[in-house]
């Protein structure tokens, strides 16, 4: 086996090699085919959506402060319905689904593969513009009549009763679906065909495995959402009898259609987050990931099993008893691969030299919050308890622990982790850690009381409530504003770093995956020559170099050169 040492830190030959400075002007971004720039544009877009969705959430929580109608004068009961609908729709379709794959994934995936770009750069740009068009549809719905169906667009309310612009919003979601499919297709082809020599499937970083599993779901499940929304729009516009029982349709069938996409979509949201956590835990524990193959296969298992459990959203919908029991049993099976991941992350940390850098603080928050979110899902998967808990704040707390405590927290952790690579600047570590602490405490203050009031019978989506629930609502509202402050602080820390941050070295964290071998920020073509590949989790392959203030690869570590042909040939 040959020994090949890859320089960890090589300055680009010319300053314009940096992807940020290679070309200037609006059009250089608007028509760029560079995956990194598209990733950055997605990042700005999804963060804007998150800001908007977050503001709507804060208005909702403020309305619940007193328990009396019109705590906020402009929030009538109709406006309240529109607020929670738009909060959910914006957060799900515009932020959580595209956030990690389209923003971080677009930027990191090709660099992690040692490739110059994704397989279809034009399709990548098209995907971004489809996202923009979908977002415009949503904003139009918001600015015209609003939307009050809930983010699930359940029939027959959405087809027969709602006076809001349902068709506009469903077309928005339809277009966003295409954006998601394009991203997924691109990632599948890129991973299949553009891996560098030596990067076999089981030498691939786990973030790539998670993006691959996510892409499969995006490609297989999202078309069903498109069909469902088209049927809904057709029924609303032309009075076709698909979901309306008066016309021979079946409203429960709509829920089957919707959740056949939307439950796998939950895994579109959480799987990439799990991939980020695998990278963070290993890097900041200074240990190889424990149970690599189990984590990789569990991503695939989640992707496949995720298709078989959609009926657990419909236990009280009028779904038949036989199918309900089958779905309940299947639901418990999907918890196994998730638990495998959590135990492997814990085992990775065991006896590791844990570094509590900001990304690791967010990763630890993820472990705590995702575990609570996952375990409370078992209460909802069990038929007897679900009858009591269905449509209460318990459900709201459960999915916020998974979606926000899981995906959002992992996303922010990943953003802090790859920020030096993306921008070439180091952020203030102290304030980053403080932000993670505030987010963790505030998150629990917001959503833990919701478990309590939900189990005591407080229904979700209610405009007002009985006096005995006020204490929980007040705690939750205080937590929500504190959470908003924590997230704002995290944003400020990152934005300030752009202007005042220290220049980032190539590998500030000592990670062994390929993206840390190119400069920060990466050159336009990522790598001047295809990098050679070693074990992505061999933390002994890098060593701190005080001269460059960066981790560099050890000269005596052999890298794999036993596969002469490219991986895709």
């Amino acid at each position: 086996m040959a020994t090949d040492v890859m320089p960890a830190h090589s300055e680009p030959a010319r300053p314009e090699d940096n992807y940020l400075t290679a070309s200037r002007g609006f059009m250089s971004w608007a028509v760029t085919l560079d995956h990194k720039r598209i990733g950055v544009m997605y990042l700005i877009g999804t963060m804007t959506a998150m800001f908007l969705g977050g503001l709507l959430a804060l208005v909702l929580r403020a309305e619940h402060l007193s328990g009396n109608p019109n705590t906020l004068p402009f929030v009538t009961h109709d406006v309240y319905n529109q607020l929670f609908t738009l909060h959910g729709a914006i957060m799900v379709f515009l932020f959580i689904i595209p956030s990690i794959p389209a923003a971080l994934g677009n930027f990191i995936l090709p660099v992690m593969l040692g490739a110059k770009d994704v397989a279809f750069p034009r399709m990548n740009l098209c995907s971004f513009y489809l996202w923009i068009i979908g977002a415009i549809f949503f904003v139009c719905a918001l600015l015209t009549t609003g939307l009050d169906t809930g983010w699930t667009f359940y029939t027959p309310y959405s087809t027969n009763t709602s006076q809001t612009n349902v068709v506009l919003a469903t077309f928005g979601a339809f277009i966003l679906g295409f954006s998601s499919i394009f991203t997924g297709l691109n990632f599948i082809v890129t991973i299949h065909t553009m891996r560098p020599p030596g990067m076999t499937w089981f030498r691939m970083p786990l973030f790539l495995w998670s993006l691959y599993a996510t892409a499969i779901i995006q490609v297989l499940a999202t078309p069903v959402l498109g069909i469902t929304l088209l049927l809904l729009a057709a029924e609303r516009m032309f009075g076709l009898g698909i979901f309306d029982p008066k016309l021979g349709g079946d409203p429960v069938l709509y829920q089957h259609f919707f959740w056949f996409y939307s439950h796998p979509a939950v895994y579109i949201m959480i799987l990439p987050a799990m991939g980020i956590i695998s990278e963070l835990i290993s890097t900041f524990s200074r240990k190889p990931i424990f149970g690599y193959r189990f984590i990789a296969f569990s991503s695939m298992a989640i992707a496949l099993l995720g298709f078989l459990v959609w009926g657990h959203h419909m236990f009280t919908s009028g779904q038949s008893e036989m199918v309900t029991i089958i779905f309940s049993v299947l639901t418990f099976s999907v918890s196994i691969p998730s638990a495998i991941k959590v135990f492997n992350w814990l085992a990775t940390m065991y006896k590791g030299s844990i570094v509590l850098a900001t990304p690791m603080c967010y990763a630890l928050s993820f472990l705590f919050l995702f575990t609570i979110g996952g375990l409370t899902g078992l209460f909802l998967g069990a038929l007897a308890t679900d009858i009591h808990l269905h449509d209460t704040y318990f459900v709201v707390a459960h999915f916020h622990y998974v979606m926000m405590g899981g995906t959002l927290v992992a996303f922010i952790g990943g953003l802090f982790y790859w920020w030096p690579k993306m921008t070439g600047r180091m952020y203030n570590e102290f304030w980053g850690q403080i932000s993670s602490l505030i987010v963790f405490v505030a998150f629990n203050l917001t959503f833990f009381p919701q478990f309590v009031m939900g189990s005591r019978g407080m229904p979700r989506r209610y405009y007002n409530y009985l006096p005995e629930f006020q204490v929980y609502h007040v705690l939750s509202t205080i937590g929500a504003f504190l959470l908003g402050f924590g997230l704002l602080l995290a944003a400020i820390v990152l934005i300030v770093s752009l202007f005042k941050g220290k220049k980032a070295p190539a590998n500030p964290w000592g990670a062994a995956t390929l993206e840390w071998q190119c400069t920060s920020p990466p050159p336009l073509a990522n790598f001047e020559k295809t990098p050679t590949v070693g074990n992505p989790y061999d933390m002994n392959s890098v060593v701190w170099d005080p001269d460059t203030e960066s981790f560099i690869r050890r000269g005596d570590v052999p890298t794999v050169k036993d596969e002469a042909t490219p991986a895709h040939s």
Binding site: V224, P245, V252, F307, G318, V323, F327
Partner: protein, 119 residues
Amino acid sequence: MSDHHEDHNHGFSHVMSPGILLGTFAVLIVMTIVTVLLADSELIPKGFDVHVALTIATIKAAFVMLFFMHMIYDKPLNTIFFLFSIVFVSLFLGFAMTDTEQYQHRIDEFNYNEVETTP
């Protein structure tokens, strides 16, 4: 990555023989007849007829894909992807139709006029 045959010339290096094509056609016809026969058969327990029909349809789709669409000569992973897609369609339709069948009597028995006249 893979060591099997691939066609990089974008031409037809593997012409399917008429025997295989006709054989596939015959299998599809036989399976269609079997589906029709089983539809009225009492051998299939009530509620499972949808799954039997969908299973046969899935096998038929696999035959079309493998032989008519030449997927049998493609990378095994691509074939697996396509097969999984068909299986998932079958599962989706199977579960949804089984459910609909189970509660259909409730919809049939429901009197809409009664609901609309109730104050």
